[in-house]
């Protein structure tokens, strides 16, 4: 066994200071490998890219990256993503059809995804990193899927194993639970190529793991599940403060308010619940970003701020204040799409808050399994106004009589799901792969 520090090249375009739900998993992989004694080099998108696309970066999150992680920011080609005519290049704006057509042709030749143009710079920089310090393993984590294409190319060029970590499936639509593309789409060919030649294919829950094993039997033995986890330091300071009987209940959603959440169904249920004595004068606060991109903000904001009584959108907040935000809430509402292939990343943070959690998703969502054994989980049999009302009322009752024992039990359940615990087995496997 070699004593040299293994060197992992992490392809993580969404690495901090990007903001968004996938960023925590990518950061956690980097930190996990660093804690295992790896040299970690991350290839990430340049900061300006996120400012342009998302309107903001999360500098606080950047501070939570292990000091031994080296981040290389790569300028992401983004002309094709520009939607503001004013900021387009001369050729793009003046010859739009020809420009889009030529870009599509080039993209089809490189990789069948809109982010295909990141592959050349990522591969080139990966080779440069290897020239300076030998890379032992290439580890691609999170969207865009073109990163997996880059990992495939780097694996071949460097003759090193590569690992692909799917946060979301590519060729499977998790919402419809069907293929995401028509049968002859090149994405199927590419995914097969990538998965079958990967040293490991990692995904976020067992239903997805099973899907990959069935779809790619050649690689079935190399499919692993690493569930999302809890960054214990971030929600360490949540206070135990059950609401008094005469104080209105404070309900909250904490996380990215995505467009595919059942917002209307929840608000209908909320309006009904607020008529019940348990939620008299109750408040519902949404905390977090509105979608992932600036152009999706307005429609989501309109849906959240639709004038339902007691509901307010409070906006995003730094990660360092997460514990403080949870401390101000009595009940947490976890809105999710109802798919068995989806697991909420925020589920573990919600657990660590030690509050009653209302699961606004059908039981088939994999998050229901994650909450098995959580003492204060209030799910709904189906996502409609009546069921949401009943769950909210039950959660409000539970919040008022919550005991410290229950609070501690909730937090203990969360502590079974830290990132390091979740990533440990695959981390060890990658280490064994390198050290032989």
């Amino acid at each position: 066994m070699s004593n040299a520090r293994p060197h992992v090249l992490l392809l993580g375009m969404q690495f901090p200071p990007a903001r968004g739900s996938g960023v925590y998993r990518i950061r956690s992989w980097a930190n996990h490998f660093a804690r295992r004694g790896f040299d970690v080099t991350v290839l990430a998108a340049d900061r300006d890219y996120w400012v342009e696309r998302a309107g903001v970066v999360d500098a606080g999150l950047e501070q939570t990256v292990d000091e031994w992680v080296r981040v290389i920011h790569i300028e992401v080609p983004r002309e094709h993503l520009r939607q503001n005519v004013r900021t387009m290049s001369w050729s793009h704006a003046n010859f739009p059809r020809a420009w889009i057509r030529s870009h599509d042709v080039a993209r089809r030749r490189i990789f069948p995804e809109i982010y295909a143009s990141i592959i050349p710079p990522f591969v080139a920089r990966g080779l440069a990193v290897h020239a300076r310090q030998r890379v032992d393993v290439v580890f691609a984590t999170g969207n865009p899927y073109a990163q997996y294409g880059a990992a495939y190319h780097l694996g071949r060029l460097l003759r090193r194993p590569y690992v692909v970590d799917y946060h979301d499936p590519w060729t499977l639509n998790p919402l419809t639970e069907d293929d995401a593309f028509p049968p002859d789409h090149p994405a199927f060919r590419w995914e097969r190529r990538i998965v079958e030649q990967a040293a490991l294919t990692v995904t976020v829950n067992e239903p997805l793991g099973e899907w990959y094993r069935k779809r790619y039997p050649v690689a079935a033995e190399r499919v692993r599940v690493v569930e999302n986890g809890l960054a214990e330091e971030v929600v360490a300071d949540v206070a135990f403060a059950p609401p008094a009987l005469d104080v209105p209940i404070r309900v909250g959603f904490v996380g990215t308010v995505r467009g595919d959440l059942p917002i209307e169904e929840f608000l209908d249920g909320w309006a009904l619940a607020r008529k019940e004595p348990e939620l008299h004068q109750a408040t519902m606060d949404f905390y977090g970003y509105l979608g992932f991109f600036t152009h999706t903000e307005a429609p989501i904001r309109a849906r959240v701020s639709s004038g339902v009584e007691g509901v307010q959108y409070r906006g995003p907040f730094p990660q360092t204040q997460l514990g403080q935000v949870y401390s101000q809430l009595d009940v947490l509402a976890m809105l999710l799409p109802s798919s068995r292939y989806m697991t909420a990343g925020k589920a573990y943070d919600y657990m660590a808050a030690g509050r009653p959690v209302v699961g606004v998703h059908e039981p088939r969502n994999h998050t229901t399994e994650v909450f098995a054994g959580y003492p204060l989980f209030f799910g709904v049999p189906q996502v409609d106004a009546g069921a949401v009302r009943d769950a909210l009322v039950a959660a409000a009752r539970a919040a008022r009589v919550e005991t410290r024992e229950q609070f501690e039990a909730c937090r203990a359940k969360a502590m079974q799901h830290t990132w390091d615990l979740a990533m440990g087995p695959v981390g060890a496997e990658v280490e064994a792969m390198i050290r032989g």
């Binding site: 005519v85 387009m88 704006a93 003046n94 010859f95 739009p96 059809r97 020809a98 889009i100 057509r101």
Partner: protein, 184 residues
């Protein structure tokens, strides 16, 4: 004229807001015409730019129209290919003129390469008519498709304060002290 200083309109100055609908092609024509009609009804001014020789017959009163088909045939080499030598000879011979463009122009204007560059050519055609556009008074562009991009990009370069979008935002009316039209 800076925004926010003018009223809905006066005999002395241009009526604000001034909105231009970049209707290259038939897409969303009816919707844009309706929006421009609302602008004029509210006290602003509006110009509909088209490029198919078919200005909406039901254009609301007060909405100006500018069709670029004739100007398009004057841009660069189009001046030459849009004139049929046969027709020229007929005219010189004193024989009755035949209406319509030349065969060469018909072939070129329907070709794939030309369709790819036509929106930019239309900008060059519009550039000759900036007097009609009244750029100094222009506040907002309504776009209909990617074909609107060249004109939008170029006009935004010429006038940095210009906004654009798929519709006319209420805020545009409010900035000049007008009441936005009521919508369903």
């Amino acid at each position: 004229m800076p925004l926010g200083t003018g009223g809905g309109g006066s005999a002395a100055g241009p009526r604000r807001p001034r909105v231009l609908g970049v209707c290259i092609g038939p897409a969303r024509r009816a919707a844009v015409v309706r929006m421009l009609g609302e602008v004029v009804a509210a006290g602003g001014s509006a110009l509909l730019v088209t490029a198919d020789g078919a200005v909406a017959p039901d254009l609301p009163d007060g909405v100006e129209a500018l069709d670029l088909v004739a100007e398009e045939r004057q841009v660069g080499g189009h001046r030459v290919i849009s004139r049929s030598p046969v027709r020229l000879a007929r005219r010189l011979a004193g024989r009755p003129a035949v209406p319509g463009p030349s065969l060469a122009w018909r072939a070129w204007s329907r070709s794939r390469p030309y369709r790819a560059i036509r929106p930019w050519v239309l900008w060059r055609a519009l550039r000759r008519r900036l007097d009609v556009v009244d750029l100094d008074s222009l506040d907002h562009l309504v776009i209909v498709s990617v074909d609107s991009w060249p004109i939008t990009w170029q006009l935004c370069r010429l006038r940095a304060e210009l906004s654009y979008g798929w519709d006319v935002p209420d805020e545009l009316y409010q900035r000049v002290g007008l009441t936005p039209p009521a919508r369903d």
